[in-house]
């Protein structure tokens, strides 16, 4: 990553009106602004923007679905890059009424839309995203070839907790579902969105591996706690104790780190696959 940024530096310095005050809403959007080298113009972010770590030091507008219009305006942004989740709509209308340009970015569960989103953010910032996009395309193509060579499609159960209570299982139309398919695996759940899952449904799903978020794993009390949830222990994943956890934003963000996240997921899903390393992987995985 460092090498690439150095190559980009002369290009980046040339473009864009310097006076733009940017507010980002959504973790992947914030990451992209950093990756495009525009972090110095950020005046604030939301609570889901936790990467890179320095993003945590910016003023926070709270949870992105419960924005306060006046609080956002007090940061005096001129451009808001908002993921489609941002709201409530009334607050966005009030912010727009103050003359702030709001660019809404669609949620993405696939590589194509993820590349489009990076391009859209670059366009809003008057930056050239070509080097970043080309690198991402090349990384994804290499991974796709390696993953296709494994010829196996393990069943993955993805769990995510929403506050208290048992974790929810990721069904179709989720970012987790998109990542599972990209990694050459099958989602063990076929219902839509994130739903609570009963013990019997877990048994029926018969996952070969359980993937979850770091926060969720900590909340359930580690691997032992997770496998102690109803129905987990007798599944193939439970018997082999195959549980993997990732940072939720890293794995599900579909941002500039998509290729690294996909390689990490594929390497735990296909335990004996041969995945070539990505260029400069070490510099950016942290």
């Amino acid at each position: 990553m460092r090498r690439r940024t150095l190559l980009l530096a002369p290009l980046l310095a040339a473009a864009a009106p310097a006076a733009e005050r940017i507010l980002t809403l959504g973790g992947a959007v914030t990451e992209t602004v950093f990756a495009l080298g525009c972090a110095d113009r950020l005046v604030g972010t939301d609570l889901t923007s936790r990467y890179p770590p320095v993003a945590a030091t910016l003023p926070k507008t709270g949870y992105l679905r419960a924005l306060g219009a006046e609080g956002v305006l007090s940061l005096r942004p001129s451009l808001i890059l908002a993921s489609a989740d941002a709201g409530p709509p009334a607050a966005l209308r009030q912010i727009a009424a103050a003359g702030v340009r709001i660019v809404t970015l669609e949620e993405t569960h696939g590589p194509g839309p993820a590349l489009d989103r990076i391009a859209a953010i670059a366009a809003a910032l008057h930056r050239d995203a070509t080097p970043l996009l080309n690198q991402l395309r090349a990384d994804l193509a290499q991974l796709r070839a390696d993953i296709a060579a494994t010829k196996k499609h393990p069943r993955v159960l993805f769990l995510l907790s929403a506050g208290r209570g048992a974790p929810l299982a990721a069904g179709a139309e989720t970012a987790a579902d998109g990542m599972i398919h990209l990694a050459g695996a099958r989602n063990a759940i076929t219902t839509r969105t994130y739903r609570p899952i009963s013990a019997e449904a877990v048994l029926l799903a018969a996952p070969d591996i359980i993937v979850t978020a770091d926060d969720t794993l900590a909340g359930t009390g580690g691997i032992d706690g997770l496998l102690a949830l109803p129905g987990m222990a007798p599944t193939p994943a439970g018997r082999a104790r195959r549980v993997a956890a990732f940072d939720a934003l890293y794995l599900l963000g579909f941002g500039p780190r998509l290729a690294y996240a996909l390689r990490d997921l594929a390497s735990v899903v296909h335990s004996n696959a041969r995945l070539r390393p990505l260029p400069a992987a070490g510099a950016s995985a942290g």
Binding site: Y63, R65, A69, L73, A90, A91, R93
Partner: protein, 345 residues
Amino acid sequence: MTTPAILPASRVVFTPKTLLFAALGALFLLALLLEILLGPVAIAPGRLLHLLLGAPADATESAVLWQIRLPRALMAVAVGAALGMSGAAQQGLFRNQLADPALIGVSAGAALAAVTGIVLFAPLQAVLPIPPSLLIPVLAFGGGLAATFVALRLAGTDTAGLLLAGIAVNAACGAATGLLITLSDDRQLRDITFWTMGSLAAGGWAGGGIALLACLIAAVMILPTAPALDALLLGEREAGWLGVRVDRLRLRVVVATALAVGAAVAAAGIIGFVGLVVPHLLRLLGSPRHGLVLPGSALLGAALLLLADTLARGIASPAELPVGLVTSALGAPFFIVLLWRGRLA
């Protein structure tokens, strides 16, 4: 504070009642001023006057004043007054200081309808000819009125029956809401959580205006019932001997509070504490007479909600707190102090 003994006997200009109203009025105006003056975006008081007079100005400042603070002030006044006055009237009607507008099912019915709207947003939007931003408020208002109507039909002819009917409606609505929550996905769940914590942000001029209209209609219906509610303190039969038509009084109070609270909940979601505790504060400050408690609760409810909203916008900036949290955080210690002093006296 309750004894007029310290007043000079010779020329009593201010009765305790007018003093109390003057104090409440002053508190209300102060709260209104703070709501308009204070916030994360600093606007100097001098500039405020310019903005109010429509002078050309900075886009941010004028949007903050005209699109955010003034509509929110209107919402706070309408919702706070509606909840305070309705709570006072319900407590009088049920002769129970623990009564609040939720008792006859308004809030539970509105919550069920709102949660239905959140969970089944897409299919409902396809069926109902309502703009998306109005879907939840319209459903909530209808749900509140429907639940009250069911409670009234179940109630029969006595107040205890109405109480039981309210409990039944609350339980049924709660069960259905719980069922919908288990069907909801994670995003809908978060929307439901925020709705139940209340917010004055979404209503805007239209929501505030409609809530104020409903509140004024309810005030016209409720305020003249003060003498009848006073008589009811003696007991239902005793009030009947004094010439109070208790069944008509009950219908009138229930319909008026359902209207006011239904509109308030539709515009702002669930805001606790105001309806239950503001009438108590009034009784602790003054007398139990409804001529004082009913309008006083409206004024104090509005003032409390204005102050709560000022804090909700300000203390966590640039994030914002749900106003329902702040009303409880603000009101509870004050209430505890008053109870404590009352016990010592």
